[in-house]
């Protein structure tokens, strides 16, 4: 066992990806349609986490800190990609780990999340990952009241979309 800062950082990085990797993959899917873009975004987030890791002092919880980094990177990346390939986003071509979910309701949910505006999407993604209103407040900088109002509206909307899918089947 070694206390070398480089090794500690590596262990910490791998632990974070081990714990939050699936959640980060879902986050990428919530922002982007194309599988290739999602993979790139995942790597961008990983690189940002690696760079930001030495600055993490525990002032915020690990989860809040990680989602701050991930969403800041995701938003900037998605914005850049939208500018570059506006049309490609409509097509949503490449397959990836999260594309074509087995459960059609999940596909409806994913598509609905992708179509939300940037602020709503961030709030709902954090909510779906199980963050409390307080934690969402810390990640977004929005007030608890604003988050509450948004979530009430968004939950209803998403639930009705999924219920509509069930009725159609």
């Amino acid at each position: 066992m070694t206390n070398n800062p480089g090794t500690v950082r590596e262990h910490e990085f791998l632990r974070l990806l081990g714990v939050y990797g699936p959640a980060l993959r879902r986050l990428c899917a919530g922002y982007l349609h194309s599988g290739g873009d999602r993979e790139d975004l995942f790597q961008e987030i990983a690189a940002a986490l690696w760079s930001a890791l030495p600055g993490f002092r525990g002032a915020a919880s690990e989860r809040t800190w990680l989602y701050r980094v991930a969403h800041n990177v995701a938003y900037s990346y998605a914005r850049k990609r939208r500018r570059q390939y506006r049309s490609e986003l409509q097509v949503g071509a490449l397959p990836d780990r999260l594309q074509a979910p087995e459960d059609p309701r999940r596909r409806v949910l994913l598509e609905a999340v992708q179509q939300l505006g940037p602020v709503d999407r961030q709030v709902v993604l954090l909510y779906l990952e199980g963050l409390s209103t307080r934690e969402i407040e810390q990640v977004t900088g929005l007030s608890a009241n604003s988050i509450g109002v948004r979530l009430t509206r968004l939950r209803r909307r998403l639930a009705s979309l999924i219920a509509g899918k069930e009725v159609n089947e």
Binding site: A100, T140, L142, S146
Partner: protein, 207 residues
């Protein structure tokens, strides 16, 4: 339990169902990629004014050498020295800006704070771009004028030479103004407005 709460629980369960995901992903490749992708000062420079930086840095030694070679003519010495100092100052300013940008960049802020940080960064870039025509273009072209004037005056006479040099340098200055003030700033403003739009959307629901 209210209807909204039960909807919420169902949605969360549905969202977190990741049947297609491997149970354990090997992240050692991600570690390697993350190390490679780590932003260096040169990445920041590349996003900013890498061309201006390279031009300034490569021409400064050349103009310094010209100043030394032409030291017997006061016009050439003064002109090349002015250009050397301006080019060096230009490279230093771009370098300093990139360093500041990298130091100021914090990715672990809340969405709102991060957005405000990006807007401040764009504002600083706009101010810098707008100032280039004064502190960089004017002394650089004045230096060029001092070098060119004796040559043009020799062939066209004092007034003719002066007019030709002044006209040529004015065109150069207008090009720099157009490149930085019109095109460069317009692009930065577009990006800034985009950022401001999101911030406004966040603020709207706070009222």
């Amino acid at each position: 339990m209210s209807g909204d709460d039960s909807h919420g629980d169902d949605l969360r369960k549905l969202w977190q169902t990741t049947g297609e995901q491997p149970q354990r992903e090997d992240h050692s490749m991600n570690l390697r990629l993350a190390r490679e992708k780590q932003r260096s000062l040169f990445d920041v420079l590349r996003e900013q004014d890498m061309t201006a930086y390279i031009i300034s840095l490569s021409f400064a030694p050349l103009t310094a050498w010209c100043a030394w070679s032409g030291r017997r003519s006061l016009w050439l010495l003064a002109g090349y020295l002015l250009m050397t100092v301006t080019l060096a100052a230009g490279a230093a300013a771009v370098w300093r800006n990139a360093r500041r940008a990298r130091r100021a960049e914090r990715i672990d802020l809340s969405r709102r704070e991060h957005q405000q940080q990006l807007i401040r960064f764009h504002d600083a870039r706009i101010r810098f771009s707008k100032s280039v025509k004064y502190w960089y273009a004017i002394p650089l072209f004045a230096g060029g004028g001092l070098v060119l004037y004796p040559i043009t005056a020799h062939f066209l006479g004092r007034m003719g030479g002066l007019l030709l040099v002044a006209g040529f340098l004015l065109i150069c200055w207008i090009s720099v103004w157009h490149m930085h003030d019109v095109r460069g700033v317009a692009d930065l403003r577009r990006r800034r407005d985009d950022l401001q739009q999101l911030l406004d959307e966040m603020n709207r629901t706070e009222d």
